[in-house]
Amino acid sequence: MIAEIGLAALWLAAALALLQLVLAFTGLKGNKPDLLAAVRPAAVAQGVLTAVAFIALVMLFLRSDMSVLLVATNSHSAKPWLYKFAGTWGNHEGSMLLWVTVMGVAGAAVALFERALRRDTHMATLGGQAAISLGFYAFLLFSSNPFARIAPAPADGQGLNPLLQDPGLAFHPPTLYIGYVGLSVAFSFAIGALLTRQVDAAFARAMRPWVLAAWVMLTLGITAGSYWAYYELGWGGWWFWDPVENASLMPWLAATALLHSVTVLATRDALRAWTVMLAVVAFSMSMVGTFLVRSGILTSVHAFAVDPERGSFILGLLALYIGGALALFGWRIGAVREGAPFELVSRETMLVINNLLLTVILGLVLIGTLYPLMTEAFGHKVSVGAPYFDRIAGPIALALMIAMAVGPLVRWRRDDGRVVTKRLVIPFLIALSLSASLSVLAWGRIGILPFLGLVIAGAVGVASLAPLWKRNLRRTPLFTYGMVIAHLGCAVSLGGMASDSAFTVEKLVAARPGDMIQTAGWQLRFVQIQPIAGDNWTALQADMEVRRGGRPVMIHPQSRFFASPPTTTSEAALLTRWNGQLYVVLGEEVEGGRWQLRIWWKPFVTLIWLGGILIALGGFLALLGRERRGWLMKWRARAATA
């Protein structure tokens, strides 16, 4: 019954999306207010119905209803409830339902809360959102139905991939998807504005909070995913340039560029066509990423059940939506007037530089990700890995960091180059002294990129605080704090990355219980190996007593065996200290009763994710600041009229 309710809700939502689309565009075309009046209720109802469908699927998973094919193939009754719950989106169909739900709820939010946009653009935006949703409803209903039944129902399910049986699954995909799919709102805004030819500062001010909200969630999702991969895969790395990671990074890069260009458009009414283009590109990158992952044309660790039919379906959607949006862009953007001009030394120029650098990185990541496809077209399948991305994107990212430090210190419209240079004296001195001390301490031991990364992280970290210098901190607007914190977060994260690649100490040993291992100032005593049992797994666990001065601490790396499906995973033991993490992985038993142990000491590696959280926090504060100002103004206006 629950499955049928879910399916019915999904069909109804699809029908409402069609209605919403038709109402919005016939209403706009014939200027019929009575038709337009029904658009917002339709969007809200659509959002509610997608939520109902999603909750239905969650309930099926929680109840382990094995008569539903998706539950039977991806769940198991002996799983802890958290993984039954999170397992809802740990598969292709469920995650696409999550996608559609986010899209429906985001559409409802635009219908309910968007007040700043002109009415006709608002309607066109909702029409655009309905048009995109419709394609994904069709995809879900015709080729990925999550509610399909299976008869006879199996006695139990096949279980969830043990790598996914982690609290990370409960947090990472939903946040990522809210960000990923939340960008569809920006896409629809761009479509709406192109249709009504309303690309101006007011449009940008209306779009900005939506972009900001999606971007915050995307940042959190990527940060969470990175940390999850770091501790779960047991490879000690935090970013693998896997196609799926790139698929989340590319929308983030585009959204970051959009966030900055939309500010230029909102503040100075410049960069009109460019901002619209970025709004289209950001969500397009989300869709391209989904296509790459779900079609199986690229090989990735995030293996979804691969199906060429699904691939062709998404390719069709891509061609329709992105192609359609770009055609609309070409057709209409000529009618949009050029924005306001600006001087060479100005905040606007700095933001253009930011956008150019972000776009270049985006392009390089895209080319690197698609490289196997391009070479395959000429006969050989060659993929490029981390070395390409590190070497190509790294230096540009460092240049971007410098631009990020300088940008906020330059005034809007026009500034004096010499004055700007003066404002940069302190960060420059810090960079100099950092390079000097690093050269003395670690010359020849660290690579050029980590070296520059450390220097730039230090200098930019200080420079990012400079916008608060000599200001009345209590009267500084919240969104300025937001910007400062987000920029500081970038520097913190860069510091963590550079420190990890410059100073990590790795040791691979085969040790017997009772052995003592020394590395990077740590003493690890391998006490014993013992079997232990968890909810739905058994494990061999190494008990190790570690110390670095001070009192010893016990850590327990494990090698876990899951029965359904039969798989072994390694659970790394992480010991976090203020200045880094000790990361221990238990490997296989080798001859003579010895065990392989892989031990890393990673100085300041946690800064990577702390930085990510700071970036998201900054975005959140900026969002809060803008919104709060809106409420204050509305409240005052109401008080004045009363």
Binding site: V281, S295, P308, L326, G330, E376, A377
Partner: protein, 175 residues
């Protein structure tokens, strides 16, 4: 110029779509082609894996007559499944040598007693070293070795009943 720039994104995108479509509709080549075909066997000398069969060395494989080299293990279920086909091949007069992977002599003896013993020589590869040198990733696998000790064919997975004529054909071709 501005006009061109406006349409450039759409043009680029159409290029990507073409690329995606070609990637999507290209048939996947799922057959693994060994790079060792035509190459001599890597040199190895292995201890005996069974009580009643002599040990195996790569030099003993170049006898002028094509033969099979079967990679198996007593703990491997598909290896038991392919045993009748190997016996049939032996009946047809094909000399078969074998390498037992990560195995122990009592286990191999028990396995051969239960499923039959088509092998002339059996070497024990306790640490999979030879298996890796052969470019073999699992058990069972079977190599056709020509009279000069070169690899003529690699069969991945168990030999099914309908694979037997094909294996015989490969042996004839390796003459």
């Amino acid at each position: 110029m501005r006009k061109l720039l406006i349409w450039l994104p759409l043009g680029l995108f159409l290029g990507f779509i073409a690329l995606f479509a070609s990637g999507l509709f290209q048939p996947d080549d799922r057959v693994i082609h060994s790079r060792l075909i035509g190459q001599p066997l890597p040199a190895f000398t292995l201890p005996a894996a069974a009580s009643d069969r002599p040990p195996l060395a790569s030099a003993q494989m170049a006898t002028g007559q094509p033969r099979l080299l079967n990679i198996f293990a007593s703990w491997c279920v598909p290896c038991a499944a392919e045993a009748p086909q190997l016996l049939a091949l032996k009946q047809a007069g094909v000399p078969i040598d074998a390498i037992a992977i990560r195995d122990a002599r009592p286990d191999v003896d028990a396995f051969l007693a239960r499923y039959g013993n088509p092998y002339a020589r059996i070497g024990l590869d306790a640490r999979s070293a030879v298996q890796i040198a052969l470019g073999s990733s699992g058990v069972p696998e079977t190599f056709v070795i020509d009279g000069k000790g070169r690899i003529a064919y690699q069969h991945i997975g168990d030999i099914r009943a309908d694979d037997v004529p094909m294996i015989l054909e490969k042996l004839r071709a390796a003459q």
